[in-house]
């Protein structure tokens, strides 16, 4: 059996006596008998480290690890520089708590300040936190930031990742907030429907737009932002941090708040977590921002110092009047993202973004020759939707057999594909060849109407 208790049985006995107890039972007499556990827990006996390691390896081996991944939809398989893992494995970062004691937490505090700066740079914003569990919860937490006595209804585009919409809906069920989904048209937000909805609602609080959207397409964010602002509501954008290296930042699009999932910034896909949600805003929204914020100041000798600041917004002080209960600060993941961005640099991230786009375009073109045609036609980043003329299960199984995780089947027989800089031309060609076998398109060059 394993144990992490260092003190020997003899030491424990001595300590019990010194603390005034005759035995552990004596010490636990403060627990009433009626609720004391009478039987041992119904769990297996403890294991040695070797057994645990083997058991965990067995479990890991029951999963299929794909050599190449063409599926995104909220979890993206990007290249991770080796330095990232080396830095985040440092025990000081791994094992510390939230940096409440500034004098011995300068390392963590400074790293968060640097993360805040990098996220502000990507988004074009003035202030950022490092607190959210993932992109979806960050998106949900923007709603209470925008709600006040005069602004009560939240809006979200139907082109948003469905998981994000669901999380927003669940949070709104909690806070009794009305959340309205604006429909899509041709894979983009229906701007007329948005205009109509906001025209009819003098109490619109905010509109959430994902860019690029769930289908990978670029939305006309600036025009949408203008509609939203014309109705006195806040414009919130959900963004892909790697795309931001080459794309117009949310600030340039007029957003008041920008959120997103930091997973593409050096975090493995890890069956969905842990990731980090980032949130950045204009300075006007600074005091509405939930979670931990690090500020620069000086110590009593005038040296540069970092502290958790603007704390009176938070739950430990405002309690039920706080706008959020968030207490974590997703620091290790934020650190991961910082090291990733430092290693890639602006040019490296831009190159990764450009390769994502170019390779996605290449796959899309090639899939046409295999009989899978794009469903939407505007510009897109690294994801796109095609139809699927054959049974998608059969297609995906054929790919899986060759170590390829194909795109994600979404509603009505279409597939959402994703390509990153990690997918080589050879990977893409292999994928397309397998698809051709299944669709029976042979090696024919096929000119489509699309």
């Amino acid at each position: 059996m394993g144990s992490y208790v260092p003190n020997t049985l003899k030491e424990r006995d001595e300590m019990l006596k010194e603390a005034g107890y005759t035995s552990f039972e004596d010490m636990f007499s403060c627990i009433p008998d009626e609720v004391k556990l009478k039987e041992p827990l119904n769990l297996p006996s403890g294991l040695s480290e070797m057994e645990v390691a083997r058991k965990m390896e067995e479990l890991a081996d029951k999963n299929t690890v794909f050599k190449s991944i063409f599926r995104g939809a909220g979890a993206y398989d990007h290249f991770i520089p080796a330095i990232v893992n080396s830095v985040i494995s440092k025990e000081e970062f791994l094992t510390a708590y939230t940096p409440y004691q500034a004098e011995i937490s300068q390392g963590i505090l400074q790293s968060i300040f640097e993360f805040q700066t990098m996220i502000c740079e990507l988004t074009g914003m003035d202030v950022a936190n490092a607190s959210h569990y993932d992109g979806a919860t960050a998106a949900a937490e923007t709603i209470p930031m925008c709600i006040d006595r005069k602004h009560k209804t939240a809006y979200v585009s139907a082109t948003t990742h469905p998981g994000v919409v669901k999380v927003m809906q669940t949070y709104c069920f909690g806070s009794n907030t009305k959340l309205v989904v604006i429909p899509s048209k041709d894979g983009l937000t229906d701007m007329d429907a948005l205009q109509d909805a906001l025209d009819k609602d003098p109490e619109a609080a905010c509109f959430y737009l994902q860019q690029p959207n769930f289908y990978g397409s670029f939305e006309d964010a600036e025009a949408i932002g203008e509609i939203v602002h014309a109705h006195g509501a806040k414009f919130v954008m959900g963004v892909n941090p790697i795309a931001l290296a080459i794309m117009k930042s949310p600030r340039e699009c007029g957003a008041d708040i920008a959120v997103g999932d930091g997973q593409p910034l050096g975090m493995p896909i890890s069956y969905g977590g842990p990731y980090v949600g980032f949130m950045a805003a204009t300075s006007a929204m600074m005091r509405k921002l939930p979670g931990r914020i690090v500020g620069e100041t000086t110590d009593n000798d005038g040296n540069r110092a970092y502290v958790l600041t603007l704390q009176a917004r938070e739950q430990h002080i405002r309690r039920e009047k706080a706008s959020s209960n968030i207490c974590s600060n997703q620091d290790l993941c934020a650190l991961t993202a910082s090291v990733y961005m430092a290693a890639m640099g602006a040019e490296g991230m831009a190159e990764a973004a450009r390769q994502c786009m170019a390779k996605a375009q290449y796959l899309r073109d090639e899939l046409k020759t295999a009989g899978l045609y794009p469903v939407f036609h505007g510009p897109f980043f690294n994801e796109f939707v095609t139809n699927c003329p054959v049974d998608d299960g059969k297609l995906l199984d054929a790919l899986a057999k060759e170590g390829i995780l194909g795109g994600l089947p979404i509603a009505d027989g279409s597939i959402l594909w994703c390509v990153t800089e990690k997918n080589t031309k050879a990977d893409i060609d292999k994928l397309v060849a397998i698809v051709k076998e299944i669709t029976g398109k042979g090696g024919l060059s096929y000119e489509s109407n699309f």
Binding site: N7, F28, P44, A53, D77, K90, P268, S270
Partner: protein, 479 residues
């Protein structure tokens, strides 16, 4: 020291990506970034050294004693990290078909079942990503239950005044009015105050047991009965589970739903504040409301993901912080049915050992057997010498010891809350006891010295007032 933006040179960088092997494309002008993106320009060597310096300015559990009350800063075992680094877990896409992720589903099922046994619950969800997120999820279970029954008049959640700030904040996020009830003299729930507070509008009670002053509430069965008789549900905040796991179960105390912190009780690292994991458990009658996809079936016949019939929805994308769950499972497998109560018994022993030795000089807020943590009250010392809990905490920094939690719970005004954890050797606690006793003497002899502490840290006390009045929350680039 320099910020990462103040080192390096224009043009430096790493060689990370190969040349693009497909035809280049161009982003339409309309979508192109027009502002410069400032990110560091550094060699790998410079990055490595920068973060090594930052690590040197950070105190983790591995750097020394970390008796931060209510945070359970126990040792984070390495076999857990090994398990979480396996490619079969890290290279797994969350939307992989179930048949390609059977091992992951088995990890989830094993962890859920183990937690259900330890907490005395029937079902668990691993979706919540932190303790506060677990509270939110647990309260949504309560809200879903009342809503489903058409019982819409239940709009109030009762929270003791000694509770963590997240409790009332979570209740407010769930649209509830918070009724704060005062604690009794002994720091436990005031039964009369509770009886007065409950009624037809009571949705539920949120409670930590052992409570936030480190005492096991002996009236626990009476407390949960009072709430149930009023038609409310009882929520157990698992913040202090490390004191009782394997000794007593919230399910047997009358609680209907719970959250646990894998990053406290189940030894996963805190990571400077996250990522954590806050699984939520419930009795069978609440299971239909759980969020997200639920693992069903057996490994033999194949595990499947199925949504609960009346699910509240999703509180997070996917299945929670999966790798944190992997680490917790490795821990549970290591300890097993013998190791779990051994851990809690020694956590409680270590706390009482320190409590008794420190009470030679320090006044205890509640001078009785504590559970895994205890609260010292420095009000008398402050009144007499001017040395506050903050000063003593800062003085401790010079001994290389992370201070206890300060000024919590709020019902003790000059509180220092000490939680040693079971993973500390006796001599480490002896050193900390010595240090605290010495600081007590220093407070009496040289209070000025402690007002100026710490004296050996990399910075002195920071100007928090200035930081809050004129917030500088990002670096500004010259161009």
């Amino acid at each position: 020291m320099n910020l990462i933006f103040e080192i390096g040179k224009e043009g430096r960088g790493l060689s990370l990506l190969p040349k693009c092997d497909v035809p280049q494309t161009d982003l339409p002008e309309k979508f192109k970034r027009t502002t410069k993106l400032h990110l560091p320009q550094l060699s790998e060597n410079e990055i490595s050294r920068h973060y090594t310096k930052l690590a040197g300015r950070t105190h983790g559990v591995n750097d020394g004693f970390y008796p931060l009350g209510s945070c359970t800063m126990k040792y984070n075992p390495k076999v857990n990290e090994f398990a979480a680094s396996l490619k079969g877990f890290t290279r797994l896409h969350p939307l992989q078909e179930e048949k390609y992720a059977q091992g992951a589903l088995e990890v989830i099922q094993m962890t859920e079942n183990s937690l259900a046994e330890i907490l005395g619950m029937d079902s668990f969800t691993l979706q919540p990503a932190a303790g506060a997120h677990g509270e939110f999820t647990g309260l949504l279970l309560i809200k879903s239950y009342h809503t489903d029954r058409g019982d819409t008049k239940r709009t109030k959640i009762i929270v003791p005044d000694s509770a963590h700030g997240t409790n009332p904040a979570s209740a407010a996020m769930c649209g509830y009015e918070v009724i704060s009830i005062p604690s009794a003299e002994d720091g436990c729930v005031d039964l009369d105050a509770l009886r007065d507070a409950v009624g037809e509008d009571t949705a539920g009670l949120m409670l930590t047991n052992p409570n936030t002053v480190g005492l096991f509430d002996k009236n626990i069965l009476e407390i949960t009965k009072i709430v149930h008789e009023a038609g409310g549900l009882c929520y157990y905040d698992g913040a202090n589970l490390n004191a009782v796991m394997g000794q007593a179960r919230p399910g047997d105390m009358g609680f209907d739903c719970v959250h646990v912190n894998l990053h406290k009780t189940f030894s996963t690292p805190h990571g400077g504040g996250g990522p954590g994991s806050g699984p939520v458990g419930c009795k069978a009658f609440l299971a239909d409301f759980l969020p997200g996809a639920r693992v069903t079936g057996t490994p033999e016949e194949g595990l499947k993901l199925v949504g609960a019939p009346k699910s509240m929805g999703l509180v997070k994308e996917f299945y929670g912080n999966f790798l944190v769950v992997v680490k917790a499972l490795a821990y549970i497998l290591t300890l097993g049915k013998e190791g779990i109560p051994e851990a809690s018994a020694n956590a409680v022993l270590n706390a009482n050992y320190m409590r008794v030795k420190l009470s030679k000089k320090y006044e205890m807020a509640y001078d009785t057997t504590c559970m895994h943590e205890f609260v010292m009250d420095l009000a008398e010392l402050k009144h007499r010498t001017g040395v506050s809990a903050l000063d003593v905490a800062k003085g401790l920094l010079d001994y290389g010891i992370h201070p206890p939690t300060m000024y919590f719970p709020l019902i003790v005004h000059e509180a220092l809350m000490v939680e040693p954890c079971e993973t500390e050797p006796r001599e480490v606690m002896d050193e900390a006891i010595e240090a605290l006793l010495e600081l007590y003497d220093t407070a009496e002899k040289d209070p000025e010295y402690l007002h100026g502490a710490p004296h050996k840290a990399v910075i002195g006390r920071p100007d928090e007032l200035g930081a809050a009045r004129n917030p500088v929350v990002r670096y500004t680039f010259e161009d």
